[in-house]
Symmetry: C2
Subunit: 683 residues, 2 copies
């Protein structure tokens, strides 16, 4: 829980305060003093009586009562300091810079745990250890810079890596990005990213809260709480972008050398973000560009005007927008002609709107007015405007400033002259604007942001036979269910299965074969890779063939019996699920066989999966055209695919003990979707 004392302390003690600003305890005091703090400030340092002009105490025991303690001493001294502060000084908030805790091994881990227990005992908040601190409106409790000015509508940030936060700011501030509260949570001993999200969610005020949230994480300890609050914030109008690093095995090795965090499954993270409506970023620069787009009013559509006085960047930008699925509509007709007549000869308004190297501020204003008022086929504008260095562009940027403020349609500024127009760009940013320096990076990120559609809440799952499901699951020990039980479970969830029977004798094979009806498929029971060993025979058409095939299959190694199945036709579909620890179940689907194995064409979502999310899963597949039907061939009913995914989700809800399952294949046509083979592992 994040206490009021952390956010708005009446008093702060810095344990390890110093006059030396090359030390964390010196630098943090310097930052607090430099940016103003209206409450009481104390230092603790046995060697000093005053630090940077404030009173300094020899030990924590000597302090008066204090709301917040910022602790910048070696790990070995931390526990005692915490005890004194918590139990004797009524301290309810602690920022712990010190390293040497869980990231160093079992001993540090034990120490970290004891520290958390002390803070928990008094209902306090602990930020860190191994962090750079906290920035709020009230105080700048960080030892590492740069320290951005507080902006009430700036980006709220939380980062599990102090250095990443620092380098993010180093990249963001020069691009005009503004910041509000920043939490560097370090090892997240008590307060992690989830807690900060929860705090933002529970205290959200549509009038005063910022709507942009930026996250850097190396682990998501409590994905369900993370999802709950991220989703809720998005529903309240917030826009969230996040980096979850450690998406490869080697990257995770880096993570564990770094903070001892364990990397969650990478696809589960992406599925979580999609469900919550979070833009997943993979680099600082991408996060900065997304945040800058978030800081501009949302684009309500995908049709852009590209406005430029420089051909090349307009071409490259148009290419990336179109590749990313957006439109740069061709403009023509009387309105386009009217605009053209106001520009210099040689200009083009076909879109990109190119008003030439000699284009001026007045013309830019006219173009933006046409975009705003005349071109209904346009939802927003990108303006690329730099300078050759021959004249200043203050007047152009002034027009851009005014139009960004006054227009309903969003305008994205790309001001590429970092050297020659440095002053003008700086002045433009000082008026409260961001600036994208590279048009293609901007275009790529915009197409990603514009595609994001948050999901509706609480998916409704179809009713299933819960009683039967519980019965089957509870009577079985951990391990794979038998084929018969697998099918019973699927049927209890309403998933259509093929008619079949497992037999152990020739006579039973013939009898069951006749009951199911010809043609039949016969498969060995036992070995996993049935088809690789010749353990699957199709097109069995008569009792005699059944008898012969039975004999052949039973002679193969490791075979325990033979499964007889109705032979159904259709396109192979794959559905599966896997329990991802704290993430819950991840549900997967795709077309079967090589589409899954060679093309890795699989959609994933976290359970529960309702109608909308299931539909998106299907439509996101690269092989979706095959589902729709291509080359004169039948596809697969999208409705049945969606319904079956929802039933699978309902099954997992009723039987959370399922740790892994595959239905592979289902065979699908426009009329039917039938599960032919499946495996279910109970954990």
């Amino acid at each position: 829980m994040i206490t009021e004392q952390l956010l708005n302390p009446r008093s702060i003690a810095i344990i390890g305060a110093s006059n030396d600003i090359s030390k964390p305890g010196g630098k943090v005091l310097h930052n607090i003093l430099a940016h103003g703090f209206e409450g009481q400030l104390y230092g603790v340092n046995p060697k000093e009586q005053q630090v940077q002009g404030i009173a300094c105490y020899p030990a924590c025991a000597a302090l008066p009562e204090v709301d917040l303690a910022i602790i910048a001493v070696a790990a070995q001294y931390v526990e005692e300091a915490l005890s004194t502060l918590a139990f004797e000084k009524n301290c309810k908030a602690f920022i712990l810079f010190s390293a040497g805790f869980s990231e160093t091994g079992p001993q540090g881990e034990a120490l970290e745990k004891r520290c958390v227990e002390i803070v928990n005992a008094v209902g306090g908040t602990l930020i860190g250890p191994n962090c750079i601190g906290v920035l709020t409106q009230k105080y700048k409790g960080v030892f590492a810079g740069p320290v951005p000015e507080y902006d009430a509508m700036g980006c709220d940030c939380v980062s599990a890596s102090g250095a990443t936060m620092v380098y993010l700011l180093e990249m963001a501030i020069p691009r005009g990005l503004k910041f509000r509260d920043i939490f560097s949570v370090g090892n997240s001993a008590q307060i992690g990213v989830e807690d900060v999200l929860q705090y933002w969610d529970e205290t959200f005020d549509p009038e005063t809260s910022s709507r942009v949230k930026l996250l850097y994480m190396e682990q998501i300890a409590d994905p369900k709480r993370f999802l709950k609050h991220a989703w809720s914030l998005v529903q309240k109008g917030c826009r969230i972008a996040a980096i979850k690093a450690g998406s490869t095995e080697a990257g995770s090795r880096a993570v564990s050398s770094h903070t001892g965090a364990l990397a969650g499954s990478n696809t589960a993270v992406s599925a979580l973000f999609r469900k919550a409506g979070i833009i997943r970023c993979y680099s600082r620069i991408e996060l900065v560009y997304v945040a800058a787009i978030f800081s501009i009013k949302p684009l309500k559509g995908d049709r852009l005007a590209v406005i430029t006085h420089a051909g090349g960047p307009g071409v490259m930008l148009t290419d990336i927008l179109v590749k990313g699925g957006m439109q740069v509509p061709h403009l023509e007709g009387p309105k386009a002609d009217a605009l053209l007549s106001r520009l210099y000869p040689g200009s083009s308004v076909a879109n990109p709107i190119d008003f030439l190297a000699t284009g001026n501020a007045t013309q830019l204003g006219e173009i933006l007015d046409f975009v705003e008022n005349e071109f209904d086929e346009i939802d927003g504008a990108v303006v690329v405007f730099g300078t050759t260095g021959m004249w200043r562009v203050d007047d152009v940027y002034q027009v851009l400033h005014e139009k960004i403020r006054s227009c309903r349609k969003p305008i994205f500024p790309i001001l590429p002259s970092a050297i020659q127009a440095a002053e003008e760009v700086s002045h433009f940013q000082a008026m409260g604007h961001v600036n994208f320096t590279d048009e293609v990076s901007f275009g790529y990120v915009l197409t990603r942001v514009n595609k994001m559609q948050p999901l509706y809440p609480d998916p409704v799952l179809p009713a299933v036979d819960t009683q039967k499901i519980r019965q089957i699951v509870e009577k079985n020990p951990a391990g794979y269910l038998s084929p018969a039980q697998v099918f019973e479970l699927l049927e209890a969830a309403g998933i259509v299965t093929v008619r079949q029977a497992t037999v152990m004798s020739k006579e039973a094979a013939i009898a069951q074969g006749e009951a199911i009806g010809f043609p039949l498929v016969m498969k060995v029971v036992g070995p996993v890779h049935k088809s690789d060993m010749g353990g699957v025979v199709t097109g069995v058409k008569s009792p005699e063939e059944v008898a012969n095939t039975y004999a052949t299959l039973m002679s193969l190694e490791g075979v325990e019996g033979v499964l007889l199945q109705q032979q159904v036709r259709g396109i192979e579909v794959y559905m599966g699920a896997k329990a991802e620890d704290a993430y819950g179940h991840q549900i997967l689907c795709g077309l079967g066989g090589i589409f899954v194995e060679v093309f890795k064409d699989v959609s994933a979502a976290l359970a529960p999966v309702g109608r909308e999310e299931a539909t998106r899963m299907i439509r996101r597949l690269k092989s979706y055209p095959i589902i729709q039907g291509v080359r004169g061939k039948e596809g697969v009913s999208e409705e049945l695919l969606v319904a079956t995914l929802m039933k699978l989700s309902a099954l997992l809800q009723a039987a959370p003990e399922i740790t892994e399952m595959d239905i592979n294949p289902l065979l699908g046509t426009p009329q039917a979707l039938v599960a032919v083979d499946a495996r279910i592992l109970i954990g």
Copy 2:
């Protein structure tokens, strides 16, 4: 042809010279004067006697003889000026800033053509029109800045967009990139990108020439000449990166509104770049990062050490490197232990090598020495090092500087503290280094650069029956060849075709069916989408079935006859070719059916395609695992695929009149690859 007078003029006249440096004719003079020019300088301006301290003439006619003219007057005055300079003043080089030529329409196009004729008549060089000029060691003939210092080993550049060149410099200079010669070729009326490449190629001197070439283009007018010289430069040790903008239809509209250039087929451009060994970039920032990587000694392998004092960036960098196919090998054993003992407790050398926020210059030196001398499993290092702002990092960057100079293995510096370490970074760059500010952008680009393997020259194509090929092609008018001729052509090229015959009567069908052998496939002749209309019947097993099927097929609409084919089995393979105007033939291949149509899984290369390039085409396919054989199923002989692609290339060489052809499908097994159906269009 690029004349000596353009590169090394003894005298320069500026037509339209001005005292007003907000005009091109004023700014270019200012730039030339500011950066030094050892020859004679003249101005031409009827209103001035002196401009910026140099002698000014009222008209070109009044000038003495001059080597180079820089023309900065309105389009309408250009032709006369050129005439006078060319025919009366022995001028052999012209830089034409003025706009108002081919980019404005037919009239401007005609004017541009007349200007080229004047310059050609005296064997001169014309740069532009509609350009920002030329930078060489001798003079800075540009009106648009920024003007980089000349560096003999800096990047050579050519750009078809002046603004893009300007904005590229605005982005590159702050990252430490150095420049040599820059050509802004504008409309490329006479001198285009190809000519500049040819000049670089023909004058290449391993001792004195720069090895880094950067290109921005919106068209490639002469792809074959482009390829010849680009490839030759790469063979001489140069590294080339290029943007070819206008890769989408809307982007091409932007191009044509911009310079009147026509966009070539986008896949043909990529194929051309692959053949030449050029890294294709899509943005200025990507080009800058590639150029910066080029400016560091090449990485001889794909195994990197990631060295950092900041966890997060190390994790993100490792993720992107591994995703891009590079290795960040786990380091362990006695050498790793020895290194670890020299670092602070809590450091990790597992790779990423994390030497903590407190890590210092001495430790960085030790780590880099271990990478250089002890870790044979490492080919190079990336160092991510910024600052928290508590202390200066000059000593760290000094070590980095020394190790970059002294180590055999390349070291890539990522210095993220743009604000807090601005001075130190600037000093580091002043010592001659580049700096990558974003680790993930760097990692992404490095994986692309490191994958580039130039091809060997002059592919050897297999012998084909040229006489027969010429005979068939020459006796046919433009249009589609008949199925029989298509097969004759394929056979003449040594491509194995299915046994088949086209028949017009039931009797012939039966006779030919028996000759070919059962089972047979029977297909309608005439309609294009045979399978969509039920015009293909497989598994015809007897003379009676032949007779019945013949009758059924002939009753379908538009059917002119029936094709009987040996029924062959195997995986469907697609090969095709298309004439791309000046690019020559583009050859395509992939697995057939949905792999081409739904997954667009096609490899392309420009003819001629030899063994190495054909092999790369096959291995680049996403469906390559299917060719190798997956899930216990047979694949297709890679050797036969490669051989057939080479034969296809040889066929196109013998019959360049083929404008389009498909062999779809070929059916492939590990033992055979047989063309079953094909179309050939003669242009």
